[in-house]
Subunit: 185 residues, 2 copies
């Protein structure tokens, strides 16, 4: 793929993730193309169907999670307390709470397509490893499950309004710190 | 007001609060009437305009908050730790995170109408008293502001999906307990 083609594709996926988060996955694809600064024909050349675009967004988010997890697998060994703290803030910065509700609504009725489960399991397996490391370091209570932990991050990072206030990030960072303290033994 | 008229009015406000939370304050009033089990004419007799109905919903929520606060002003004196714990769970049970985003969207552009500020201040003043009492009892760190505290409750009680899973309440209760621990000094 040529670099401008790659840039177009990435711009479409970014725009789709933002618009899906704010307005749901049924947002007009013309709005996605416009937000990405490309023509609708280019969008359809990259993603022949809406489901292709949804899949690319899901893979993009899973990729973000996996990149963060890989980075902190090493860092948590060097300095468990700082590593765990920074890992949870980095996870929250992906703001899973903005896109997960839109995907849950889409997949809620019919069930998620087959490609979702392996991605989710890959993300959760590494998260499980990091959580276990944090428990071993006395940073998280033993009875905290990976599912609870992950739902907590999603709840905290779901914006209260589709037009978030300017201090939304400050509030989320505050709440993540409260969350980190609350998870301790 | 006769008792069946009162019951009708309460049913309309309840239905409006539920539908506003799930679908926004611009939901068709015919849907509100249907959910309340009354005719549209009865709805308009009680609430001539949509803004009248929105106001009734806001007053209803403020009333729920104030009732919980009044109850726990006494209980927190008897047993600060249990009283504070139960107060925060009772606040969360009102699920401010379901309706606040819909109202924020409505009032975001034009600003909230005049009747909102005194209601909000009344609710926050008593909450401030309870928070101060919890700080005095060593249950909450001194640097936790009433605004942070309240935004935290709203974030935690915002459902991740409009069709919440069956274990949504269990997750929220878990997260409230983590929150309570995280607020401690």
């Amino acid at each position: 793929m040529r670099s401008d083609a790659r840039a177009n594709r990435a711009a479409i996926v970014d725009a789709a993730r933002t618009l899906f988060s704010g307005r749901g996955v049924d947002v007009p694809l013309s709005a996605v193309a416009e937000a990405a600064g490309i023509g609708i024909a280019t969008l359809y050349r990259n993603f022949p169907t809406r489901d292709d675009l949804i899949r690319a967004v899901v893979e993009d988010i899973a990729g973000c999670f996996q990149a963060v997890e890989r980075e902190y697998l090493a860092r948590i060994e060097e300095d468990p307390e700082q590593g765990w703290h920074d890992f949870v803030h980095a996870l929250a910065a992906i703001r899973p709470g903005t896109i997960i509700p839109a995907l849950a609504e889409k997949f809620g009725g019919t069930g998620a397509p087959d490609y979702v489960a392996p991605l989710r399991e890959g993300v959760l397996a590494t998260q499980q490893t990091l959580l276990a490391r944090a428990k071993k370091a006395g940073l998280v209570r033993d009875d905290v499950s990976a599912k609870n932990f992950q739902l907590g991050i999603a709840s905290i990072t779901r914006p209260l309004s589709e037009q978030p206030e300017a201090d939304c990030d400050t509030h989320t960072a505050w709440l993540i710190d409260v969350y980190l303290r609350g998870l301790r033994p």
